[in-house]
């Protein structure tokens, strides 16, 4: 674990960040469809920290990140990055940060090393090609066209482009969405190695496991607003219970109601998902589960499935919004 120094100047700071997309992009219609994408966001990210922005589709993660990256003009609010601001220090800032956008399609018919050399040419002090290739484990693919790479390899190349000049802060917008578990772990490894060298990371994700593993702190966004901020452990503790009991009744076994389930011992939260699965947050599942079994026996209802697991950030999100984090 590297050191986070909260007292020193933060790597990133934003106050009252807002974005309204004016209507009429593409179409000629007037104003009717203006979208309030980010609504007054305050964030402070310390140097050396890995900070996660969590939220469902359309919650404003990309909009936020692109405003912080100086690629999108905020409607309001201020951003300070590495102690500088976009209006005055754009070229210096660009030298010192790395960006992987959500889904960039790099030139398909260039080879891996041609792409890296292209990006290296933009920086004053690029790292050696060899070191970059080694970092992202693409040495064998150096002469392969981008179009011939797998999804995971492409994503690693995108991250290598962000790491070309050993940035002080790295922005990753959904770095692992759509990747298989192995590729995902490789990318987590890259992020960990970069942090071990002292880097600061801001990443967005809708994978809770990713946030829990990588991030020192996470901010949960919903509809452009910050609804919770803290370490993963703090947020889970905020649920009031560390365990989740999930159950599903056999078809045609009647219904359960929220009040009954909430009255079970040590249960603090109850949530029914769209698929008919009940999730109960329980402080002591070893007391809640026997009580639940007794209740069902009494009513003659049979279980299709019953399981206990540790609470995750996903549960935090569900309990905060009543909605699941991912709709895919």
């Amino acid at each position: 674990m590297n050191t986070i120094c909260p007292d020193a100047e933060p790597a990133l700071l934003c106050r009252g960040l807002r974005k309204i997309y004016e209507a009429g992009r593409g179409s000629g219609r007037k104003r009717a469809g203006a979208v309030l994408a980010v609504e007054g966001l305050d964030l402070t990210i310390a140097r050396g920290e890995c900070f996660g922005l969590l939220g469902p589709n359309g919650s404003g993660k990309t909009t936020t990140v692109e405003m912080l990256e100086g690629l999108l003009a905020p409607t309001g609010g201020e951003v300070k990055l590495l102690g500088m601001d976009w209006a005055h220090d754009e070229s210096r800032l660009r030298e010192r940060m790395g960006v992987a956008l959500q889904e960039t399609r790099l030139p398909e018919k260039l080879t891996v090393e041609e792409v890296l050399n292209l990006f290296r040419s933009f920086y004053q002090r690029p790292r050696p090609l060899q070191a970059l290739l080694a970092d992202v484990q693409l040495e064998e693919k150096r002469r392969a066209w981008v179009v011939k790479l797998s999804g995971g390899q492409r994503q690693r190349l995108a991250i290598a482009c962000a790491l070309v000049a050993e940035p002080e802060i790295l922005f990753l917008d959904e770095p692992t969405t759509g990747l298989d578990p192995q590729s995902r772990r490789q990318i987590w490894g890259l992020v960990a190695a970069y942090r071990a060298r002292g880097g600061t990371v801001l990443l967005t994700t809708h994978y809770m496991e990713e946030a829990q593993r990588l991030c020192d702190r996470v901010a949960i966004l919903d509809r452009g607003r910050l609804i919770r901020l803290g370490t993963p452990a703090e947020l889970i503790a905020g649920l009031g219970a560390e365990h989740v009991v999930e159950l599903e009744l056999e078809a045609g076994m009647g219904a359960l109601d929220e009040a009954t389930l909430r009255s079970l011992p040590t249960v603090t939260e109850v949530h029914l998902s769209g698929e008919g699965v009940w999730a109960l947050a329980a402080v002591e599942p070893e007391r809640a589960v026997p009580a639940l079994r007794a209740l069902l026996q009494e009513r003659g209802q049979h279980l299709l499935r019953l399981g206990t697991r540790k609470a995750t950030l996903e549960d935090v999100f569900v309990s905060l919004t009543g909605r699941a984090l991912r709709d895919d």
Partner: protein
């Protein structure tokens, strides 16, 4: 391993464009293969042929002597009945129908459409042969001299037009379409997220076109020279200047057209909207002097007209640098205005 010197971003960006083009068979075909194929097809379709034989239809009753006299005069005679003759006349298979006198002593009748030049020509030819066979004497002594000036054939007119058209499409697709593709792929945004200077990217677009243009010109010129004997009457320097000015002007128009388009369908629609009318009006394939007089100033102000006319001034009329100035002025005006507006409206994201 020692790292090579850090290359300049303009070099890397230009290499990116050139590599993408060279590795894309479709792009290569449209840039190099298509204009050559087009000039072959049109060159063959409009090649200078030997004189067309005159074909006449003869209704039953035309005498053998008359038919023999026509045949020995180089006229093809087709015996036809009345209905078939009418159909053949309508479709242009025969130019004249010969109707024998109904009773001896009455005149021969020539059936033909006087609106067709080749029909009038055929009537005169047939009449001259029949009159001569009937004993007419020519009073005036004449001699024919056959002439075919280089530079006056259709292919000589066509090649400068094709050259202009090809340079226009090259700039429009090679810059306009590519910009929008990069925008759609978020590559423009990604490049801007790095410390890349915008002018370096624009510079690289220009430079990569500049590297390809000489090959485009040389290929068409050499091909036209070898296959059709097309010559450049004026100065090569003037030709290169017109080509560069035209390409630059269309590059600027491409930037303008691509400045806001959010997808490739939009930009290809817009580019066709710009280019198709000029294909027709600017006289690539046929002289624009066929259009009514009032439209002439408007047509001459079009950039493709300026490029076509400039090319023709050099290749056919032998113009030097000075002779191309009016055309260069038109191209420069389009280029500057489009570039300024294009940059003002340009969306990177």
């Amino acid at each position: 391993m020692t790292e090579p010197q850090r290359p300049h971003p303009v070099v890397q960006l230009t290499l990116m464009r050139l590599r993408e083009m060279m590795r894309e068979p479709g792009a290569l075909f449209w840039t190099f293969g298509f204009p050559v194929l087009l000039s072959v097809a049109l060159g063959i379709a409009f090649r200078v042929k030997g004189p067309e034989p005159v074909v006449v239809g003869a209704l039953p009753g035309v005498t053998v002597q008359a038919r023999d006299a026509l045949a020995s005069g180089g006229v093809q005679v087709r015996p036809l009945d009345e209905a078939a003759a009418k159909a053949a006349l309508r479709s242009g298979q025969v130019a004249v129908v010969l109707v024998p006198p109904a009773r001896p002593g009455e005149p021969f009748t020539y059936g033909f459409d006087p609106a067709r030049p080749e029909a009038r020509l055929a009537r005169a030819t047939v009449d001259a042969i029949l009159q001569k066979a009937a004993g007419r004497q020519d009073r005036l002594a004449v001699r024919d001299q056959e002439v075919s000036e280089p530079g006056s054939r259709y292919i000589d007119f066509l090649i400068p037009g094709l050259l202009a058209m090809n340079l226009m499409s090259g700039s429009m697709w090679g810059i306009g379409w590519v910009i929008v593709e990069m925008r759609v792929r978020k590559l423009l945004k990604r490049l801007l997220a790095a410390p890349m200077r915008r002018r370096h990217l624009l510079f690289a677009f220009g430079l990569s076109r500049l590297m390809v243009i000489p090959f485009e010109i040389a290929l068409i010129l050499i091909f036209a020279r070898l296959v059709f004997g097309v010559q450049v009457a004026g100065s090569y320097a003037a030709l290169v200047l017109v080509s560069l000015a035209g390409s630059a002007s269309f590059a600027a128009i491409a930037i303008l057209v691509a400045s806001r388009a959010q997808n490739t369908q939009t930009v290809s629609g817009l580019m066709n909207l710009v280019m198709l009318p000029m294909f027709v009006l600017s006289g690539v394939f046929f002289s624009s002097t066929h259009f009514p007089e009032v439209t002439r100033p408007f047509i001459s102000a079009l950039p493709l007209t300026a490029m076509c006319d400039g090319m023709r001034a050099v290749m056919i009329d032998g113009a030097g640098l000075a002779g191309t100035l009016p055309y260069l002025a038109v191209l420069a005006a389009w280029g500057v205005v489009s570039f300024v507006l294009g940059l003002r409206w340009f969306r990177w994201g």
